[in-house]
Each structure stands twice: as structure tokens, then as C-alpha cells.
Symmetry: C2
Subunit: 339 residues, 2 copies
């Protein structure tokens, strides 16, 4: 049994599951960014050889899962349960990607926090003794998201300075009960927080309060602070949201200076790549995790990070109906060692 | 630790979580059907007092959670993790409903199998030792689904005989580590199965192969057959899908005659209520479970049922792009006793 049952939001895993393999697949623009060298595959064709952007996204997610399995040296049949989700209506990128693997599937929707949500549930499933090997994956595609959430691609509408750029990317992680690490040591699922932001072009501001709520709960539950971690990384608040979060955490007594970053600010060079406030989309934190972040832990640069997926839980319809934008944040501790 | 780690698809829970409370809320048409007397609330106003059908659906789901908590005698703060999902784009009915409760949230997308998926994950979270109390909930609304998936409501398009009628309904279950039952004893998460059906007005045919795959795995994993259960209930295959499933299971050597039914055939009188092949939607199996099915176990009519949520994982976009419809089925054993 776990250390849970304390009524706290954070779950401490007694037998932290290990990352067995991971892979990130991205599009051309992401392949021109600062993390270009860490991705397993950079595809210059926005269609990924398919006939639509939606099919392209599904193909990309499938490719990430295949590569992660290859790197783990595992056949798909070894994975007992797959957790995945994406931004497309009815999460079709994930469902169509997973069907080829014949792995029992749990479909998720956590908006851009989905990679963290999947990682959390996969880790709980293993630590709970229900499986030895699970996978977690997520994706987004600029073209499928843009036309679903905003405007037809050919419209060429101008973007506001607070807008973020949906990453064309996917990441997949294979977790196992036994392995060389990195390990998933703690999970803090998040509450839905809505502070009344209604601007769908400022999702960083809508998500930052949720990130603060989850991170503060995490620190308080573990009676610790930001200095427990070499890096606290949100995905994806962008520059506006990251700045708000830093202030909000400081107000709560948590100083993150020098140890905080955001996946949306890491995947692009915001100064030169015309992405305004930074990257976003389920695939952003998934690709940054499954390339840069896990690489850096394996290479010894960091011992312990807190990966905090952030999501904006609105839809185009809810925005058109004047609803404010609820945010959520799911935090997962990833460590070189099992503690 | 669980009895898992056998490489089987089915998870046997060592300490089966108990249902602590449950509630079903439905609309007018469902309140005129054969199960009218079992629902906790029948709302004749399709708007549920709100200004849009989407807000109405969210209000309905929130009401189901409130009533389930009341019946369990628990404050929302006692629920450690909430699992929920629905059919609306970006699952907004669930996110907006859950935000008022301040419960850490896992958003799900399993199409019409979401209630079973949520029940499964909530049960695993408790049996894994990560929480004492969790909730699972799901919803659908005829009006929000019809205009999102098919046609504007005022269009009045004719429906094909194989079409199903999306239920306006919601169900919520509160599960706990300790309680009087019924208990969740086994979970069989399902694989994504696609046999090439492309008719979005015949989802029963698209989902039946997935139901067969999961049910056959369940019986084989437990070295048992349909006669282990007083009732095997799918949700929602409708009349076409139910008939196909019966034949497919018979071909696999599993005879379900006399002990099989489908939530879509139970919630409406298909002969008189003009619903064609029966009810569908996340809210159909959720409302039937959280009224009729759990009532009958508590009242001693059945000792043990297998609740098999079925979902069609397409989107309007995937159908318009010519993709076939993948199906999924998640099965959950619910028993009067802990065995």
C-alpha cells in the first residue's frame, strides 16, 4: 500500500515506477528551435505522409509510441495499459493511434496537461500493482488545432501578443515496475481553478492560478519547497502565465527563481520564431519531457524535477457562450533515484 | 498488492471498493421511459435553468454529483479524486461541473464507455491505496450532442433505423475503501477495435466487436463464462449492436441468452418512444447504472453484474474524412459481496 490515506492531495509512490523508454516526435518549426537535437524524429512534412492534419497528428503520436517502445526494447504486446489523450474533438488522434497496438486503452482529456495526467495514472497503475508496464502519450498539431479552435489556416488572422503557438509534437513514455530510472516518485493531481479569465488568447493567465494551486499543495503536502527540485517545469504557461505563476508562488512564500522554466518557453526561441508568448498544446510538454527533460536526468544534469502539466479546460463553444476558462495542473515528480 | 501481474487484461481487486452513494439525473423523455421511477431527479426543462444546452449538461452532471454525495452523507471535500468525462468537445460538461467541488480531477474521454472507465479508474485508485474516497461521473444531453455531432436541432433531419437517441442524463457514483456494497470486484479495460464500419448512424455495429473482445477476455481471464453473472449489461449498443454482440459471443462459445441486456434498450421503450435502435450517449449507461442497476443489486434482485461500457471513438471530422469508427469497451464487475 502507498503512503496515501493522509487526506493530502499528493500521492507518494512506495515503489516508484521507472521510465523504460521515451520518444519525442515534432514538426519542422519545432525542429528549428533550441531543442532540435533532442527529438527522436523531426518531420518536415506537416501531413506526415497522410491526407489530413488530423490523420497526421495521429500518425505522429503512433510514431512516438513506436519509437519509445523500440528504445525500451519492448514489443507493444508487453504494454498492459495505454493512457493517452490529445486536443482534437473526441481525442481521435489518440484513439486512432492506439488501435494499431492492441493495448487496452484509457482515453484521457486534460487539455495541455494530458501528458502529466497520463504519466500520473500510468504510474499509479503500476505502483498499485495492477500492471508491470504501461504507456503514456499525448500529441498536438498546429494545423489541426488552429482550424479547430481558431480560424481556417488560410485565413491568416493576426495573433494577439498573449497568444501561444500550438506545438506540432508528440511524446510517449513507457513506464515499468522495474528499471534504471528516472523514477516517478510523487503525483499531485490538480483541482479545476477558474479565476474568471475569458480571453481564449491568453490561456497562460487562465492556467497560472491552477499551476499555483497544485504546486503550493505539492510543497505543503511534502513539507518542502521549490529547492527540493533542480527544475520545476510547467507545460505550457508561456511567458505571460509563467510570469504570473512566479508572482503568485512568491506571494504564497515559494521562491522559484533560478529553478523554474516552462516547456512553452523552452521548445521555441520566442525572440526569433514568431510564437508570441510561447508554445502550447498537449504535444509541447510531451515532446519537451520525452526529449530534453528525461535526457537531462539520465545524463546527470538534474537529479530531480517537478513536471507540472497545465491545461485550459475550455472549448470554442464555452468561450462563445461567454464562459470563463477553467485551468488545471497535474504535477509529477521525476527523479534520478527512487527517493 | 493486487492479484494482477499475470499479463492478463482483467484486474482482480484485492480489497474491492464499495459504492457509498450514487445518483442519476435525467431529462423529460427519459423520465417518461420504463425506468422513470428509479431516477433521483427528472428535469422537464431541457435547459435545466441555464442559457444553453451545454451549460444545461454541465448543471445536470453537477446535480448528479451533489445528489450522490448527499446520499452517501459526504461533503465534497471528502472526495479525494474525481474522475469524469462527457461527449462535448473538450469535455466541458465535466470540467465546468467539477470545478465547483474543488476536488482534484482526472478528465476522461471514453465516449459512451466513460462511466465504466471512470468507475474502473476510481476503483483502481482506491484499491491501490492512493485514496479512501473517489467519484466517477458522466453525462450526455440530446440537444448538445445532436447539434455537435449531427445537425442543428431545428433542421429536423430524418433518422435512419439504425440510429440511436442520445440520452439526456447523468450519473455519479461515490466509491470508498470501506462500505456496505455493492463492490467493484474486477475491471477489464478494453482494446480499441475497428472492424471498418463507417456509418456514424450505426454505432452499435461499430462498438459490438469491441464489446465482444473485452467480454471474451474477461471470461477467459477469469476462466468463467456468462453464467457467473445475473446480468451482463452493455451501454450502449442499442438493438442492432446488442444482436451482433450476442451472435459474436455465441461464436466464441459464450451464450448470454436470458442474462444479457443493453442500457440503451432499458432506458427507453423502443417500441413507443421513437428512439429507433435505442438510447446512447455517456449519460445513458451512467443513468441506468446509477438508478436501476445499483438499486437492483442493493435490493437483492441480482448478486453480481458485469457492467460493460461501450464507446465509439470517432469524431464528426474523422467520419467526414472517411475514417472507420473504432470501438472500445471497458467492463466492470459489480457484486453484492466482496467476492
Amino acid at each position: 500500500m502507498s503512503l496515501k490515506h493522509t487526506g493530502k492531495q499528493t500521492i507518494s509512490l512506495l515503489s516508484p515506477p521507472s521510465v523504460l523508454g521515451y520518444a519525442g516526435v515534432v514538426g519542422k518549426k519545432e525542429g528549428e528551435g533550441p531543442l532540435a537535437s533532442v527529438f527522436d524524429l523531426v518531420e518536415n512534412d506537416a501531413f506526415f505522409g497522410e491526407s489530413s492534419f488530423e490523420k497526421a497528428e495521429s500518425r505522429m503520436l503512433k510514431r512516438a509510441m513506436e519509437l519509445a517502445l523500440d528504445k525500451a526494447g519492448l514489443a507493444p504486446s508487453r504494454v498492459e495499459y495505454a493512457f493517452a489523450g490529445d486536443l482534437l474533438n473526441q481525442c481521435t488522434a489518440s484513439a486512432f493511434a492506439v488501435k494499431g497496438f492492441k493495448i487496452p486503452y484509457f482515453g484521457l482529456y486534460g487539455a495541455c496537461s494530458t501528458m502529466a495526467e497520463g504519466l500520473a495514472l500510468a504510474a499509479l497503475t503500476i505502483d498499485g500493482g495492477f500492471a508491470d508496464i504501461c504507456s503514456a502519450a499525448s500529441s498536438s498539431h498546429f494545423c489541426s488545432a488552429e482550424r479547430q479552435y481558431r480560424f481556417p489556416l488560410g485565413y491568416g488572422g493576426q495573433r494577439t501578443p498573449t497568444a501561444q503557438w500550438t506545438v506540432t509534437g508528440s511524446g510517449a513514455v513507457i513506464l515499468g515496475s522495474d528499471g534504471p530510472g528516472p523514477y516517478i516518485t510523487h503525483v499531485t493531481p490538480g483541482r479545476v481553478i477558474d479565476t474568471g479569465i475569458t480571453d481564449a488568447n491568453n490561456m497562460g493567465a487562465a492556467m497560472a492560478p491552477a499551476a499555483c494551486d497544485t504546486l503550493a499543495a505539492h510543497f505543503e503536502d511534502l513539507r518542502t519547497g521549490p529547492d527540493r527540485y533542480d527544475l520545476i517545469v510547467t507545460g505550457d504557461l508561456g511567458s505571460i502565465g509563467a510570469s504570473i505563476l512566479t508572482d503568485m508562488l512568491r506571494d504564497r512564500g515559494f521562491e522559484t527563481a533560478g529553478r523554474y522554466n516552462d516547456c512553452g518557453l523552452m521548445i521555441f526561441d520566442t525572440a526569433s520564431q514568431d510564437v508570441h508568448a510561447g508554445g502550447s498544446g498537449c504535444g509541447c510538454s510531451a515532446a519537451v519531457l520525452c526529449g530534453h527533460l528525461l535526457d537531462c536526468i539520465r545524463q546527470g544534469r538534474w537529479d530531480r524535477i517537478l513536471f507540472a502539466g497545465t491545461g485550459a479546460l475550455m472549448s470554442p463553444t464555452s468561450c462563445q457562450q461567454g464562459c470563463s476558462i477553467p485551468g488545471i495542473c497535474c504535477a509529477v515528480s521525476i527523479s534520478k533515484d527512487r527517493s
